[in-house]
Structures are given as C-alpha cells and as structure tokens.
C-alpha cells in the first residue's frame, strides 16, 4: 500500500497497463515531453519513448479519430482530451464511430479505446475549463462512461477501461487530482465497469452521486452524524450504463433519496436515476426524490463568488440532506 493522489492513481494505472501490454499507447496534447498539463502522463515519455507516447496537434477530432482507427486495428489507445470542455470537436468521432462500430459491423470490428478527460469546476477555470460533459454522451449504447471518485477506484477502473474491448469515456474530476489521497494497493487489481459502490452505510437517508460530489457528500454525512442523521451513500462510479440494481437497492433502503450532481440540473444523469427509482420503488418511498445540482446557466462563471454559487460543496449537500432527513 502507498498513499496516492487521484492523479497519481491515473498515472500508475496507465504505466502499469503499458508495461503489461505493449499494444497500449497514449496520445494527446502535451502528453509526451511535458507529461500533460496536469502531469497525468508524467514520466511515461521517458520510460516508453515517443512511439508509445504521442504528442498530437491541437485537434481533438483527430486525437479521437486516430485513436479509434488504431483501436480497430488492434491497438489499445488511451486518448487524452486536455480538458473535457475541448471534447466537442471529437463528439462525432466518439458517438457516430467509436460507439457504433461493433453494432454496425455485426461484431466483426471492435474499438477498445479509452478516452480520458478532466472535467468539473471549482478550480477557478471559468467557462472552458469547468464543464461537466457527461450528459452529452450518456444515451449512446455502445459507449461506457466511467467517473471514479477515489484514487483506489481510479486505478482499478482505469485498468478495466483500458482492458475493455469497447470504447470507454473515462472522466476525471480535475479538482480531485491533488485534493484526494488514500492508500492504494501496489499490486495489480481491477474494478468491474458498471458497478456502483456503497461508500457509506446508513439508515436515514440515501445520497446517490458520483465523481467529486461523493467526496463532498461523505464530508456532509460526517457532520450530520453528530446530529444523529445516518446517511447511506451510493457512488455510481459508472454513469452509463447505470447500475440499476444498486440504485434500486439503495433507494429502497431508506425511502428518502437525494441525488447530487455538479452538472446543470435539467437533463443531467441524476434525472435518469430519479426515473429508475420512480419506476421501481414507489411503495418504498417516504419522501419526494430530491435533486441537488448546478443551476441551469450555461457554464461555471469566473468570478469567485459566482463560481462558489454554481459549484457543489459540502455545505449545500449537508443542507439538502438535513431537509430530507427532517421531512
């Protein structure tokens, strides 16, 4: 076991997979010599050389497209979008090509690409460096979306994503990169994609969330414990396809459900989670299903006060949890 930050877990997973399988390679903007703007690929260029750690032009469509082509040819590319916000030019490649190639070719072709992208705000990054983009991709059968919340989950899930025979969008919260640290086993392990995880057992209210918000919810739960409120926290981990069984079980456990996302509220992932609960748990519900999310404004603002207003934090979650517990 070593204490590892969230971003070190990313680097470690990539490094170990590159050592294990020489079909694995990295491509993206500044991922080579510089080691990535966040240092996610630090040291890989020196260890594996320029043939397996490719600096690309500033052309996201090409990064995705080249990766998809290589993947179809048998390689296992890890494509980095420098910021999730920049993924837009690559949407066509990801949705129309990567996600559909297995279906379109009746299993003749597969596309085992992993596309990594740092998302999320709270880092004073403003409009082009703070967005949550998962909802755009979350109704594309053929594509998986993984959004881990802890360094342990990062290592296990990123390895699973690289080894997966279909395209995976791997979204890392950039604020979590250096904020979250924990003990991570040095040995090789994987965590199955598509499984949610109970991060805290409780009996009063259920909080279902993903990504950095899991961390905030855990902090809020700790504070509320002093008031005698016992929260059950489910981390979705994979947000497409959703782990319906785990969601239903967690919702039924307390009958009071709070759903949290940093994304804009309307049309976000948690709306789908609410629908699953609504369809399956009516007679176990003890309160309306509550959603806590970012406001429906175009993007995270730059001014610190405005950013704070937009961004999720433990205080907001604590307040919503308290209200639901009191209901």
């Amino acid at each position: 076991m070593t204490v590892m930050s969230y971003i070190q877990a990313v680097t470690t997973a990539i490094k170990e997979e590159m050592e294990r399988d020489d079909q694995v390679f990295v491509l993206g903007e500044d991922v080579g010599k510089k080691g990535g703007v966040f240092k996610a690929t630090e040291g890989l260029y020196d260890q594996f050389g320029e043939a397996r750690v490719l600096d690309t032009p500033l052309a996201e469509s090409a990064i995705a497209g080249v990766g998809i082509g290589a993947a179809m040819y048998g390689k296992r590319p890890i494509a980095e979008m420098q910021f999730a916000d920049f993924i837009m030019p690559a949407v066509n490649q990801i949705i129309s090509e990567a996600a559909k190639i297995r279906y379109r070719s009746n299993n003749d072709w597969t596309c085992p690409i992993t596309i990594r992208a740092p998302y999320g705000g709270g880092i004073h990054g403003a409009l082009y460096h703070s967005q949550s983009i998962e909802a755009i991709f979350a109704n594309q059968p053929g594509l998986k979306i993984v959004m881990p919340s802890t360094p342990y989950d990062v290592k296990g899930l990123l390895k699973s994503s690289i080894r997966d025979n279909d395209p995976v969008l791997f979204l890392e919260h950039k604020r979590a990169y250096r904020l979250l640290k924990e003990n991570v086993p040095e040995e090789d392990y994987t965590i199955p994609i598509g499984e949610a995880d109970v991060k805290r057992e409780g009996s009063d209210i259920t909080v279902i969330t993903y990504g950095l918000c899991v961390h905030f919810a855990l902090q809020a739960a700790e504070r509320l414990e002093e008031e005698g409120i016992d929260a059950h926290i489910l981390d979705l981990r994979t947000i497409y396809p959703l782990d319906q069984e785990a969601i239903i079980e967690a919702a039924k456990k307390t009958g009071k459900v709070l759903l949290v996302t940093e994304d804009n509220k309307e049309g976000s992932i948690i709306g789908e989670v609410a629908a699953i609960i609504g369809e399956n748990c009516l007679f176990d519900l003890d309160a309306p299903i509550k959603r806590l999310a970012g406001p429906d404004v175009p993007s995270m603002p730059y001014a610190p006060t405005m950013e704070k207003h937009f961004m999720m934090n433990p205080d907001k979650i604590e307040k919503a949890m308290k209200e639901l517990a009191d209901f």
Binding site: R178, D204, G255, A287
Partner: protein, 414 residues
Amino acid sequence: MTIENITMPQLGESVTEGTINSWLVKEGDHVNKYDPIADIMTDKVNAEVPSSFTGVIKEIITEEGTTIKVGDVMCSIEVEESDSETQTETSAKQEEKATEETATKQEDTSMKNRYSPAVLRLAQENDIDLQRVDGTGAGGRITRKDIEKVIQEGQPAAETVSQEEPKPVAPKAPSAPVQSSAGDVEIPVTGVRKAIAANMVRAKQEIPHAWMTVEVDVTDLVSYRKQIKDTFKQQEGFNLTYFAFFVKAVAQALKEYPELNSTWAEDKIIQRKDVHLSIAVAKDDQLFVPVIKHADEKSVKGIARDIFDLAMKARNGKLTSDDMSGGTFTVNNTGSFGSVSSMGIINHPQAAILQVESIVKRPVIINDMFAARDMVNLSLSLDHRVLDGLVCGKFLARVKEILEGMNEDTLSVY
C-alpha cells in the same frame, strides 16, 4: 483594531494545497495591502502571497516547510480599521435563529395526515392504525422510520377513554343476518352501488338534517319558456329545460346567502367563494353528481348547455373525476320523476341540498279569487350544525322571489 486571518490562496487549477517556502515578514512587522508576505510552492507553481490587509503581523501560524490546504490559515494580522459590524450581525442572527427554533417547536400537525407510499404500504401490511401513530417528521408527518419502529415495538393498545369526541357510530345492523328465501333474487352490491351506499350512510349519520319546503308560483316562467323553447332547440341543438332556470335562480341566491354555500369542518365552518353546483344525474342503477362550475357566472343558456353535456357524459360513462369534484351545493331535479315532495340527503360535505319538484297546475287563491297557476315545491335539506331556519327561510324566499319574477320582460336566456 481587529484580527484578520490570511489564508493559503488557490494558485492554479487543480491545486488544493501549498507549502510555505519562506516567510518574507516576521511577527510585529507592519505590512501594506498587497505587500508580499511569503514564498509558497505548490505542485504547479511557486509564488509570492500578497497581504490582503494593511496592518501588523500578529502571529505566524504555519511554519516554513509546512504543507497546508488551500483556505487554511497562514498567519493572523491586526488590522487598523474597525469592523465591529460583523460581530453584532452574527449575534443578531443567532438570536433570530433561536426564536425561529422555539417557534417551530410549537406543535405543527399540518402533515399528520399526509402519508407517503411507503408509510401506507407498511401500515396496511402490518395492520397499523395510522391515527394512533405519532409522527416525528416535518409538520408531524409519520415517517417510514416511525412505522418501522411501531412494527418493531408493537402498537400500543387503543386508549380506553378517547380524548376525541366520540364519533357517531353507525348503529350495527341487527345481529341476525338477513336471509333470502326461495324465489328471491340476490343482487350483488358492486362498486358504484357500494360507493353510493357508503356516501349516503355517511351523510345521513354525520349530518343532522332538517327540512323545509316553499311553494313557488312559476306561471310566468312556464309561459315564457313555452314561447321560446322550440326556437331555442332549433338554434342551439339542445333543450331549454326548466331545471336550467332553477339552477340559475339558486346560484344567484347563493351569492347573496353564502351561508348555504359552505362546509362543516369540525372546528370551523368554511364558506366557499365559488359557486359550483352539483346536479344529480341517474343512469340505470347508478347515481352521479357532476358539477356545474361557476354557475353564478353563467347565463341560463350556459347552464342548460352544461346540464346537457354532463347528462350526456353520465349516460355514456364519460364523466371524469374533474367533472364530479368541487361541488359546493346540490340542486336535485326530483320533479323529473313526478315527485311533488321529498326529503333529500345532503351531498356530504356540503351544507344543503335543494329538491326541485314537479311543476303542477293547481287552483290557487289570488285576491280572494281562484286562479289556475303553475306551482312548484322547492324542498331544502340543511345541515343544522351549519344552518338555522332563519337564514334558510330567507334563502328560499329569495329563490322564490327570483323565480316568480322570471318572465319575458325580466329575463334573457342568453
């Protein structure tokens, strides 16, 4: 003089902590706002931290070489300008909060009878009487946890002396069951019949009924309607019934005597603002009471159309629950069966029902002479908890006055 803290600033995206490389000031130094006070190092950058205030460095809290989180205190500084407002503000806020808390502690039971699906299901499965469960949720709501506790601990036996005023209890049917003998036909009681029975029993047992009847001379109205009914039917495509005129008169009188447009609510009487008149419509063995909404705002023609539409819907089984809900007073057209006198059962939870009987030509004495007049009886059943004879008498007199004044000169059906 106040003490302010200087905290570790956020230096760059994804940076969450920083290390103090070296302090550029020491305790007791005077600094101006924006003067650099320390050199710090993060994962991404090295930078100088400027002072956010002008004042004297009071205490250096974080030692050189120590790593702290963004937002943690680095040092404190004694600032010159006073800033006492914040303090009084916070204390005022605290007081406010305290009073708020005591206020909410007072029994709020507005949610006591609102049950969530989970609570209803658990109560049903475990045969729990929700009236006897104390709710710990907002507004006295019974939460799922409350029920789970009751299930675990068992429900306390019903108190022998109930504090509530004993509810009128239906006298139990004679203990010997009713037997049918040979040749009798047994008709099973189905949904609608069952519902009618339950409503009637409830209304009759809960409401202390009283009755009164007035006689109305509608000779003018009869002749007026005769004049126009055929043209009306041709133009509008539906019948201009007498009933529409009666509904119109009642709606108008209700506006003037809102006491009758009300509901008994245990500790208060609720007078309804809107006049929504329920009318009784029979179909085979079923009885419906659809509602003419805002009858007081409609012309005779508008009311006639509503009656026609609602009756058609009832006959075709197309009535919606919206059509049937919201009534504040009922007008019952018993005259259509030939009845000349009847005592209606009030449509619970309304306060009164008016039976409009048959119009019958009868000899009447006017100015000491016999005259053949079209007469009709209006029979009112009233909830004696809400209403007394005086106001009902006035109301009926007003309905009578309106109806007797209806003729071709005073009234337009449009």
